[in-house]
Amino acid sequence: MAEARRSAHAAGLTVYALLFDEPHGALRSDALAGVLGRAGADRVLVCEGAGLGAPPLDVTHGRALFTAAERVPPIVILFPCGGPGEELGPPLAVRLGAAYARAVDFRVSEESGPLADGVGRITLRRWRADRSGYRELDPVEIERPIVALLGAHGVVREEGTPDIDVEVIACAPAPEAPVVELDSEPDEMEAVIQARALVFLGPGVSPQVADRLRAEAPAGVVIADGATAPRALAAASPEFLLDVGGAGGRLDVGLSPRARVGLIPLSREGASPAAGESARQVHDLVWDPAGADPWDELAAALRTVP
């Protein structure tokens, strides 16, 4: 919400917050408007329908989301990092004929003022797959909306007002979906997916050091290693990534162009990219402890992360 508000303020856009709920559910309340309004929404859309209170899947929620998107219609549809964006975003982009991007950041055009009819000039940026450069998406230029997943960064601010309208959209129940949830359990990797500060420990880091760093890291720093599910790393989009040991281009983390990447090479071998990976080295900062024991110093430095 804060990222959308920031860009909307600069480009003269309206921010809609969109939620799903069961018919006559508990979400439609003054409290809802208050929270989302203060967070930056200009309006709230609540899609009500049988089954929409469940965790979202495209087969159950996709049609309702498309209905809401057609109601607005938006130039940019944002999903937060770690939310349902990877499940709902691509099918929505396909239905809308929209562009789609993940791990994006916003840029507000330096051109003066919004375009005609209040259409603002914002662009979204993402890395190319080989990290050889950026891709910039301008919804005005491509003449279609953009569905995008944000990185887990930005500063949460409450700059809006609680006095906003809540509109309820009655959505027809989804046709019987060929999906039934059998069971579920808490995802122990969720902290990695939601991390704003992610430290990845390569194979050169001993288990004892890893345990120590985990124990001493502040709450805002998440420590991952080779045992971390690749799926969780790929879904993460942290504000900064510290690569300890030089996994480099082999590390599939959803970095946005705004994210900063640090490297601590632990060995000459680990610091060298494998063949064909040189274009994917995107380290902004490198600290080479040159054989000295870096762990006391690193643990102390990580404690400064807010």
């Binding site: 965790p55 939310g83 504000e239 490198v286 400064t304």
Partner: protein, 236 residues
């Protein structure tokens, strides 16, 4: 069950199969004997390396949708091509490696689902025949695991379905063992005759315009300076 694994032409110098592609093939093969696994790729005859790798990884058939190179096509276009070709094969299940499409967007399987009019599920981490399927019931024959909203969820799903696959924590790091090519397993060529698909054009504009990344690497002399630089959060 007939399972199609959709592949994408690999970038120059890249591995023919991404990790998630290998995992999709592994999951399909792990369903056991009696299921036909077909690798499908759209591209020209110089882009068949992923299909050759898929045959080595154990698929039963490999098919190329003939045409121009789709290596840089957007997911709408590629999904239309692969979806149209997949329809002719009559699949029960279509799998694709998540983020194996152009620029790693992770939207190709959703586009294939749209063009085959099949339901879509993103980022499955496991795939197995359900107990009901083993007992002969066909209503929801598959069980998958997905991650999201802070939960690991086990779902029973029906067929036909389109799913993207990601390598989960339980997946072997090296994927399925390769096997030598069996005699007679060559790459088939499919042509699209559906008149509704004649509108296909290779579009790249919605991938965005290219911009140079000017990111000089700064060498620092202490961990404190390193972390301070990382949390500075300046705009680029």
């Amino acid at each position: 069950m007939r399972i199609i694994v959709c592949l994408h032409a690999s970038p120059p110098g890249g591995q023919p199969l991404a990790d998630n592609d290998r995992e999709a093939i592994r999951l399909a093969r792990a369903l056991g004997e009696g299921h036909e696994v077909i690798a499908l790729l759209a591209g020209n005859k110089d882009e068949i390396a992923p299909l050759e790798a898929a045959l080595r990884a154990g698929v039963d058939r490999a098919a190329r949708v003939s045409g121009e190179s789709f290596a840089a096509a957007d997911f709408h276009t590629l999904g239309q091509v692969l979806g149209s070709a997949a329809r002719t094969l009559g699949p029960d299940l279509i799998l694709g490696g998540a983020r194996s499409d152009t620029d790693g967007l992770g939207a190709l399987t959703a586009s294939i689902a749209r063009h085959t009019s099949l339901p879509h599920l993103a980022n499955i981490e496991s795939l197995a025949l359900s107990a009901a399927a083993a007992a002969g019931a066909r209503s929801l024959p598959l069980t998958v695991t997905v991650r999201g909203e802070g939960r690991m969820r086990r779902l029973a799903v029906g067929v036909p379905f389109v799913m993207s696959v990601v390598r989960g924590a339980a997946a072997p790091a090296t994927g399925a063992p390769e096997r030598p090519g069996a005699p007679g397993r060559s790459i088939e060529t499919l042509a699209i005759f559906d008149p509704e698909v004649t509108v296909i054009r290779r579009r790249t504009e919605i991938l965005g315009t290219s911009a140079t990344a000017e990111r000089p690497v700064k060498t620092v002399s202490s961990a404190a300076e390193l972390v301070a630089g990382l949390i500075r959060g300046d705009e680029r």
